[in-house]
Structures are given as C-alpha cells and as structure tokens.
Amino acid sequence: MSVSHQLELRVHLPLDRFDVDVDLLLTRHVTAIFGASGSGKTSLLECIAGLRNGVRGRIRLDDQVWLDRDARVRVPPTGRDIGFVPQEGLLFPHLDVRENLATGARRARLRGFEVEAHTREIVDMLDIGHLLHRRVTTLSGGERQRVSLARALCSGPRLLLLDEPMAAIDAGLRRRVLPFLRKVRDRFEIPILLISHDPLEVQALCDEVVVLRDGKSVAQGDPRVVFADPKVLPGAAGQGLFNFMEGIVARTEDGFSVVLLGGPGGLELITPPAASRVGEKVLLGVPADDLLLARQRLEGVSASNLLPATVAAITPSGALRIVHLTVVPELPPFLATLTERSCLALQLAPGVQVFVAAKASSFKLFEAGVAAD
C-alpha cells in the first residue's frame, strides 16, 4: 500500500535523568520507536499527542503544524486529530464498550466520516461485535486492547499512536493481537507510530524502526537491517532477528499443519498445528537463529522442513554473519544467523545453493482466531 506522508519530529524535552532530544523525519507507513524501558519512548509519544508541557521544537504531520515554538504554535491535544492507544488501554470505566467507541464520533463526523458505517467496519475487523454491551471492567487484556484500538480508529485520526500495545497482555494472547494490528495496518492508510521494546513486534508490523536510547535516536532504518546491528541489541546480537511470512493453511493433521507460502504451487512448510481453518491466512514467524544451513540435502534429520535456497548476500553482525537466503523468489529473503566459522566451513558466498533446515516448532503461528478476509 502506498502511503505518502511526512511526520516531522524535532522534539526537545528535559526529563529527570536525561533530555529527550530527537530530530526525525518519518515517512513510512508504520514506524516503531524502539528502546528499553526508561529510554524516553512514552515521553516522546506524549509530546506528539500534546500531553506534555515544556516541549521545544517542531512537530508537523504533512501540512498540519502541531508545535512550533519559534512561531508560537501549540495545538492542544483536542485539536491534533490523533488516535492514541495507551499501554493499559485506558477505556472509560463509566461507559460500556459501545459508548467508549462513540466518544470520538464528533471528530470523526467533522473529518467527514460516515460514523455508523465506519464504526461497524472497525467493530467487524477487530472482532468486538459481541462485546459492544459489555462493561469495560469485565474485558480481558486482549479484548481491552482491541476496544482501545477500535476507539482510536473510530475517532477518525490522522495519526495512530500505539504505546506498547501488547505489553500489558500475557505472551499467549499477544500472538492473537498481532494479526489485528496487521489488519489495521493493511486496511487504513493512516500513518502509525508504535512504541515497543520487543524486536518481534517491531519486525512483524513496522516498515521502519527508530532506536531510542536515553532520549536520543541512535539508529533508524529497516528493522531487518537495524536489528542486525550488534550495537542495537548488545548481548543479544542476531537473536532479535525474525523472519515473518504470510501463508495459507493447506491442511492440518494430527500434531502439525502444512502452510503454503507464495501462493499455489509455492513452498510448503510444516508448522505446529494451526487453529485457523484450511484456506485461512496465518502469519508465521521464525527466529533467524533457529535456521540451520547445509550444503547437501540432509538425510535422516529430525527437522521437518528442508528448503532449497540460494545465498543472496552475507552481512556481518558483530562476531556473527547474517546470511540472506532466497527461498521463494517473490518473498523477501530469509535471514539466518551463523558464526563466521560456520560460514567459512560451508564456503558460503552469494549464489551458493544450500538447504535450510528448521524444526516445525521453530515456526510460531500468529492467528487472530477469526476468518481472514
């Protein structure tokens, strides 16, 4: 989906331990602000939403200037047309789900949305139709996040701000929320800014990542390039890299599923059993660390997946090497992390034919639990 927008963030905000000080121009559809907790991520988001005082600099989305200290412009949060999804959801406890969704209806109408149809579409997309009359205090963590996301979308925002949308959800449920976020991304052209400390989340959702450390931007770019940089994930170099791919469930048998990549006649992967029905779309993730490479077709190994591939490139990542592998020509290359020693032993170089071996259980399935559209 082609999205053209510009989010200019020149922000200076003094905090207790350090200053948030960034100068960014974000033009991609989904951008992550990545950093450890206490790196100033949420403060930056609050600056954009207009919830912080004492911010200096300039914040602009396309032709809308929200903050310009020199020109004495400071648009209050009520006028910034932002969809804000905070970590804990922050649903209004005195309203039920339907009323929560309606809180931004005024703005949506002003921005030209057909509110009823718009809301219905979002409710269907995020699968919260059965929750509409529930009190928000009775919702589970995953439901709360979906309703919070729906409330933001229903208000017809120009920019979606997600503050660690999955941090307050336990690990099992995260896998179920991720597909919803991807649906939102694929359906709406609204630029999305996502805060995260989870490399998996960033790679599954974002086109670009900005790494924040003590309030300063230390890296910016394609997640698969940025996370390969040993300086970004010190102590875990190479371990933060994931391969994500969308596939279609071809069949499910006792204890495993077969997922088809790259359309009919494409590549078949053996994965853990999928909850989705045959023909439905699923998201697959496999850590780059979990892929084994062999020069010959392996015989008698327990790994269920053995995929012929061609080495496209090899890039260094500290002491490790990241091997880019073309498995299905239409899909982005798979990444595998190897030691330099293994690379030499296998005499890997661009153009070399190899086999990629992976256990079925290395593939994590991300399923919404609802039919994909």
């Binding site: 939403a49 207009g50 919830l51 209050p76 949060p77 009520t78 006028g79 910034r80 047309d81 932002i82 969809g83 804000f84 905070p86 922050l90 209004f92 406890p93 005195h94 309203l95 039920d96 809180t103 931004g104 005024r106 703005r107 002003l110 059965h130 929750l131 009359h133 529930r134 009190r135 409330r151 933001a152 208000s155």
Partner: protein, 222 residues
C-alpha cells in the same frame, strides 16, 4: 419541634445548594492545577474546620452586623441577615464549605488524569471532558461530599447560635432546640429531638451508602 426540624432541613438544603457549585469547581481546580497561592486558598477554605465554630460565628457577626464590615461600617450594604433564617443558612454554608471542598477534591483526585487526557486526544473539549468524563467518574465521591456537607449543616450549632440566635419558630434549629430543651430540663422534648436527629442522620447515611453503591450510570450487562 416540627418547625425546628423543618427549618433545619430547609436551611441546610439551601446552604448546600448555595455552595455546591463553587465548592465543586474549586475542588476541581485544587485537585488538577498548580498555581501560586494554592496553599493559601486551600488553607483559607479549610479555616472553618479548625476554628471554634463560635469564633467563625463571631467573625461572621463582624461582617454581617448592621454597622459591620459589609454594612454601614464598611461596604454599606443594606443587610437584613442577623437573627433571621438567612443567618442560619449563612452559618451552615460557611461551616459546611471545608468539608465539601475537601471531600470533593479527594473525589477528583481519584479520577485518573490520563482518562481526561485520553478524552482530549479524542477531540473532546476541556469543558465537555469535565462534564462527560470527570464528573461522572467522580460521582460517588461527590455525592458523599454533598451528603457529608448536608449533615454537617444539620448539626451546625456554634456559628448558628452566634449570628442567628435561638428564636423558637424563627431561627431555632434541631441542635439549638436540643440545647434549649436540655437547659430548661425538658427531657421529653430533648428525647424527641434526639430521636429526630438519629432518624435524620441515619437516613442521610443510608442514602449516601445507596448513592455510593449505584454505578455512575446504570448499564446493561450482556
């Protein structure tokens, strides 16, 4: 006796109605905003809580007397307050104010300011946010504050007797009537008044409990 009860309920209710709006707004300002002199404002409002009620009464007397600071001795307003039911209202209002402001402030402080910020990001103006989100979310605490202020007004004695006197049928309230009955040794009257006080107090507590147990707004469940 029934006149005293009726007068007490009327003046107390009127006193609370007079102060509820300014007190709730002040409580909100004290709960949400930082400004110079905030401590002084908060302290001044709290004074009637820590001063002897008769001292507050005397201060009011100095303000409201015909030759007082608001009368010919100062601003020269034509006041006809002292020793009338209006004085009872004034005394109750002044004495109930600190309780109302403090309790309402706590109620507002119990509302997560991030919920208000959330409403702002959804494009809802500050005024609308106050009425549609802050007020309903603080509702239980505010209701408790109003009931507390009302019961405080019903029990008001010191300031009332100082500026309104104790004129049966005119300014005599429940508490001053009990005082009179006990002073003249009319135990039957005192017992009856005691019974009335107990009933009124208990009803007030019951209704506040009932209010607090109500959800801010009743909703369907699925």
């Amino acid at each position: 006796m029934s006149t005293a009860l009726w007068l007490t309920l009327q003046t107390s209710a009127l006193a609370v109605m007079l102060i509820v709006l300014p007190c709730v707004l002040l409580a909100y300002v004290l709960a949400r905003y930082q400004f110079h002199g905030k401590g002084i404002v908060s302290g001044l409002v709290g004074m009637p809580l820590v001063m002897p009620p008769t001292a507050v009464g005397y201060l009011l007397l100095r303000f409201l007397a015909d030759d007082g600071w608001l009368g010919s001795g100062g601003v020269d307003l034509d006041l006809d307050i002292l020793l009338t039911w209006r004085a009872t209202v004034v005394a109750c209002a002044v004495m109930a104010t600190p309780l109302l402001v403090r309790t309402a402030r706590v109620a507002f402080e119990g509302v997560d300011p991030r919920l208000e910020a959330m409403a702002h990001t959804l494009g809802i103006s500050r005024t609308r946010t106050f009425f549609r989100f802050t007020l309903p979310l603080a509702f239980r605490g505010l209701a408790a504050a109003v009931i507390l202020a009302f019961t405080r007004a019903i029990g008001e004695f010191g300031a009332t007797i100082t500026i309104a006197g104790n004129i049966p049928g005119k300014t005599q309230t429940l508490s001053t009537a009990i005082f009179t009955a006990q002073q003249v040794g009319n135990d039957a009257e005192a017992y009856a008044l005691l019974g009335v006080s107990l009933t009124v107090g208990f009803l007030a507590i019951l209704s506040s409990e009932w209010l607090v147990q109500q959800r801010p707004a009743p909703r369907r469940r699925s």
